[in-house]
């Protein structure tokens, strides 16, 4: 059976909804922004489960930056101090941004290839929002949102993929072209295009009108499975043809991550990508193989500052703390 989990890191469903009674966030003035937050929060906090509401105005800057690094909020929301808010579930699998580009941007995150489950989960919240709020809708254009690219279902289904072998064998440009012909968008999770750091890419649907939610999910899943097949095939070839170079690459990176005295976020990302190849190919064994994925986010500047229990870390201190944190975590997680 195909090892999908060594390629697909996580799945995300996002639904955009707008309220009929208010102008869209870019035009909101005065108290209207607060009214939108209140209307949405009243619905969500009455649902089963624990949700917390954070307004951008009151959220401490570091907490907001950590949320952004974890992709729970966007930079657009982070900068909307006047009327932005986020409603988070306790386990942080649900994030509902209020007054981002649209009044409501609800997202559900799941590990692995779980778009169907993520949609089912988010759809229940969406039903409650639609039932209780006056949501803008048109028979032909579907759910009406700020940008024409988000009308119809208002849905983005995306997967985060680890594609080192396709990148190293220079196949990413043709993969990206092929997917864009199928109205799918590919971008680097950290960085753009084929130069994505850590070999991490995000694939999502571009089309949201004229297709059902099920069509979108099926299309992204089918393309993801095809990409998994191509990536695993390319990994086999890499091992067959470049076993020594590949191992050298992986263990050099491991050496840096477990021995460096200072480590920048960029260098960490680059080395983590190489070590992840080693984990996927069984050269390195960790107690929990998903640990490296968690570290990718924990080692980002703001998350790291929070982990260090500081308000601010100087550049040098940040690099030193990162090196120590990564080295200790990886060494204790390795199974020899």
């Amino acid at each position: 059976m195909m090892d999908v989990n060594s390629v697909v890191i996580s799945s995300r469903i996002r639904l955009a909804r707008s309220l009929k009674n208010y102008v869209f966030p870019s035009c909101l003035v005065g108290e209207e922004g607060y009214k939108v937050i209140k209307e949405v929060a009243d619905v969500v906090t009455n649902l089963d489960g624990e949700y917390k509401v954070f307004t951008m105005e009151r959220l401490p800057a570091l907490d907001a930056e950590v949320m952004q690094e974890k992709h729970l909020i966007s930079s657009n929301l982070l900068n909307n101090k006047a009327s932005g808010a986020v409603i988070l579930s306790d386990d942080e699998t649900i994030s509902i941004m209020v007054n981002e580009e649209d009044h409501i941007r609800a997202q559900c995150f799941m590990k692995g290839l779980s778009l169907g489950v993520a949609y089912e989960t988010l759809n229940k919240i969406d039903d409650a929002l639609i039932e209780n709020l006056d949501i803008a809708y048109d028979d032909t254009l579907g759910f009406l949102n700020s940008c024409i690219t988000n009308v119809g279902t208002g849905m983005r289904a995306s997967v985060m993929l680890f594609l080192p072998a396709l990148t190293l064998s220079n196949q990413m440009n043709s993969v990206i072209n092929n997917l864009s012909n199928q109205r799918l968008t590919v971008r680097g999770v950290f960085g753009e295009g084929s130069e994505a750091q850590g070999y991490l890419y995000q694939v999502s649907n571009a089309r949201s009108l004229g297709v059902t939610e099920k069509d979108i999910i099926n299309k992204v899943i089918q393309s993801t499975l095809k990409l998994c097949e191509l990536e695993l095939e390319a990994r086999k070839l890499l091992v067959q043809n470049n076993d020594v170079e590949l191992k050298d690459r992986v263990f050099r990176a491991w050496g840096v991550l477990t021995n460096a005295y200072t480590l920048s976020a960029d260098e960490f990302m680059k080395c983590a990508g190489e070590v992840k190849i080693g984990i996927a190919l069984g050269f390195i064994k960790l107690k929990d193989n998903s640990l490296i994925d968690k570290l990718l986010f924990d080692a980002l500047p703001s998350s790291l500052t929070q982990l260090a229990g500081q308000e601010v870390l100087g550049e040098k201190e940040e690099k030193m703390f990162r090196a120590k944190f990564i080295s200790t975590t990886l060494k204790s997680a390795r199974i020899k």
Binding site: S18, L19, K20, Y22, V23, F24, S26, C27, N123, D126, I130, E131, I135, A136, Y137, D138, D139, T140, L141, G142, F143, L144, S146, C147, I148, T149, V151, G152, T153, M155, R183, R207, S208, L209, G210, V211, T212, E213
Partner: protein, 128 residues
């Protein structure tokens, strides 16, 4: 599909006539704006962004063409709010009843046509 050159020419001429009529009679794009949020049609066509849901009513035809350019042909087929879904079902039912009434009149079944008219009136009242 069979290609009929005469039909195509007729359509081209109709298109040309529509275009000429639009240019001389319809308001110029520069002058069309949303009364609620003041977004202009030109802003929308340049950026793809509107300022409120009423913009879509104001720019309806342009918004539909723009949306089909971006997403490909075909209107919304995904999830609909329950009240909208009910409305859409009733609209379709109304269309069918009207067609049925026309058919009843054609075959001179006046009793059936009278019954259908009553159903149509009731449904129109519900849809108000």
């Amino acid at each position: 599909m069979f290609y009929n050159p005469f039909e195509a020419t007729k359509n081209d001429l109709a298109g040309l006539f529509n275009e000429m009529y639009y240019e001389t009679h319809a308001p110029r794009k520069e002058n069309i704006y949303c009364k609620r949020c003041k977004t202009t049609l030109l802003d929308f066509l340049e950026t793809g962004f509107v300022g409120c849901s009423s913009c879509y009513q104001t720019f309806l035809n342009d918004a539909k063409s723009f949306a089909f350019d971006v997403h490909g042909m075909g209107g919304h087929v995904g999830k609909a709010p329950k009240r909208e879904a009910t409305k859409a079902v009733k609209m379709r039912e109304l269309e069918n009843l009207i067609k049925e009434k026309e058919k009843a009149l054609r075959i001179e079944d006046y009793d059936r046509a009278k019954e259908l008219k009553r159903l149509i009136d009731n449904l129109k009242e519900e849809l108000k």
